[in-house]
């Protein structure tokens, strides 16, 4: 009786987990970027291939256990190893994965910068995101640490010609949908990591480096920006919002804010 209950619980849990994955209850937040969709499909392929292999290996293992049961007097029989087959199998798996994932990876990291991309600079600090738009002239103004104050968190040079129209926001990144956006990531102090789960974008930010990433948001809405690198005492509060807007709405907003 006890055994039957244990089996019942086991199968119920197994069926529940499968149903939760199948129904996407236990899954990623929806992808809202172009490369995010290809990453998700790559993930699904990996999941399917590895999952199939895993289930097959478990089945084989179970079969061996069941077959050998109650034959304690007999020595077990072994399948001789087949190094050539194993090598080929490993190479085939690596090949399938690298060919598929290379595309998703290269599309994100080895892509030529798009000339018409919207430039946004993001300067991380303990514990906030400073977001800068270049303004109407499309040029970022000069910055220097000596100009940094509370009211001028990125140290914009007040006499910089192209800096006058720069728009600096805090913890809020607004982008238009269906247009490529190039982010330049900087840090004022320590290591941070820019992470938008919905964009499938996570990039470490290293002090002293200007790291560029590009993305194209496909859906409008508000999505969480989190810092994914433990950066200090207030790391838990270092969050922002990515607001993806319709292109026209975005242009109007930028114009109003730049005034």
């Amino acid at each position: 009786m006890r055994r039957a209950v244990a089996w019942l619980v086991f199968w119920l849990v197994a069926a529940g987990v499968v149903a939760a994955f199948y129904k996407r209850v236990l899954w990623f937040p929806p992808a809202v970027s172009e490369h995010g969709l290809s990453m998700d499909s790559q993930f699904s392929v990996s999941f399917l291939v590895i999952g199939t292999l895993f289930v097959a290996a478990q089945a084989l293992f179970g079969y061996a256990v069941l077959r050998g049961r109650g034959k304690s007097g007999q020595p077990p029989s072994f399948w001789p190893s087949n190094p050539r087959f194993e090598k080929r199998l490993i190479l085939a798996i690596v090949g399938v994965f690298s060919m598929g994932s290379e595309k998703a990876w290269a599309n994100m990291y080895f892509r030529k910068p798009s000339p018409d991309a919207l430039e946004i600079e993001l300067t991380a600090e303990q514990f906030a995101w400073n977001v800068r738009y270049p303004g109407a002239d499309g040029q970022f103004g000069d910055t220097a640490p000596k100009f940094i104050t509370r009211a001028n968190p990125i140290g914009l040079n007040p006499s910089s010609r192209s800096g006058g129209d720069d728009l600096v926001l805090l913890n809020e990144v607004r982008v238009p949908a269906q247009r490529r956006v190039r982010l330049t990531l900087r840090s004022k102090d320590v290591l941070h990591s820019f992470w938008v789960p919905n964009l499938r974008l996570k990039q470490d930010i290293v002090p002293g480096l200007a790291i560029q990433v590009e993305f194209l948001a496909t859906k409008t809405g508000q999505f969480e920006i989190a810092c994914a690198e433990l950066c200090g005492l207030g790391h838990f509060r270092m969050k922002g919002t990515l607001i993806v807007m319709e292109a026209q709405e975005f242009d109007q907003w930028l114009e109003e804010e730049s005034e």
């Binding site: 600090e125 303990q126 514990f127 906030a128 104050t149 509370r150 009211a151 968190p153 926001l169 805090l170 913890n171 809020e172 200090g232 005492l233 207030g234 509060r237 922002g240």
Partner: protein, 244 residues
């Protein structure tokens, strides 16, 4: 009855005389004996436009202010060119002055520090209270006192005593980078913070010659000599140049 030779030392009148002598040397001067330094700190140059704080960086902070716009307090200049939040104090003060028992309060309220600039005495308690429903942080960037950096949860009270004079001790909240405050730590009570018209008054100053120093977070420091006479008011005007 014959008097002993040491009698004067124990007689009440001798003790009273000694006490009077000691108190006149050690006791701080009474109000009626001191003078007053009063004045205004002015801004020269183009008055900068106040910069708005984007409270929506933290939705909970934004909710506290509703439709009201909040501005940075780093450089507040009145229409009459008076500069607010200038810490003014006397340099060259001698003597000991009792430390007040009451603490100086600094609030974290509406996602800002209040007051933005204040003064506290060496050995006096500075009480920092978080009156907001959100957590803050106190990052004290003292140089001649022990710096500290602590999380300040909602409703929390932090008490701090500074052991050395320091003008100024800076405070920030790292969770809300627009929040900042400064506190001048002095050995004597002769300091003031300018009001919205840039005016200040330092009372009960012992007569003598001093340097009146003024500190502003963005405009720097400057000083002017002042001579205080008993019962009189000495007016001083200091000017900071902007746009440099």
């Amino acid at each position: 009855m014959s008097l002993r030779p040491w009698f004067p030392l124990v007689s009440w009148s001798s003790w009273a005389w000694l006490a009077l002598l000691a108190s006149s040397l050690l006791r701080p001067l009474q109000a009626e004996e001191g003078g007053e330094v009063t004045g205004q700190v002015l801004f020269e140059g183009e008055i900068p436009r106040p910069k708005r704080i984007r409270m929506n960086a933290d939705k909970e902070c934004d909710k506290m202010h509703g439709e009201t716009k909040v501005y940075f307090d780093n450089l507040v200049v009145s229409e009459g060119r008076g500069i607010r939040w200038v810490f003014v104090y006397l340099h060259g003060v001698k003597g000991e002055y009792p430390t007040p028992a009451d603490p100086v309060q600094m609030l974290q309220k509406g996602c800002g520090f209040s007051p933005h600039v204040s003064g506290v005495r060496v050995g006096q308690k500075l009480e920092i209270l978080n009156e907001d429903p959100v957590p803050h942080n106190i990052n004290c960037t003292a140089k001649f006192n022990k710096p500290f950096n602590e999380t300040q949860s909602s409703g929390n009270r932090k008490e701090q005593v500074f052991t050395n004079a320091e003008v100024m001790v800076g405070f920030r909240c790292d969770l809300h980078p627009w929040m900042g405050a400064y506190c001048g730590v002095t050995k004597h009570p002769f300091f003031a913070v300018t009001d919205e018209k840039g005016q200040f008054t330092i009372r009960n100053v012992p007569p003598g010659s001093y340097t009146l120093k003024a500190w502003h977070e963005e405009l720097g420091s400057q000083g002017a000599p002042v001579t205080v006479t008993a019962g009189a008011s000495q007016a001083v005007t200091l000017t900071f140049k902007g746009g440099q």
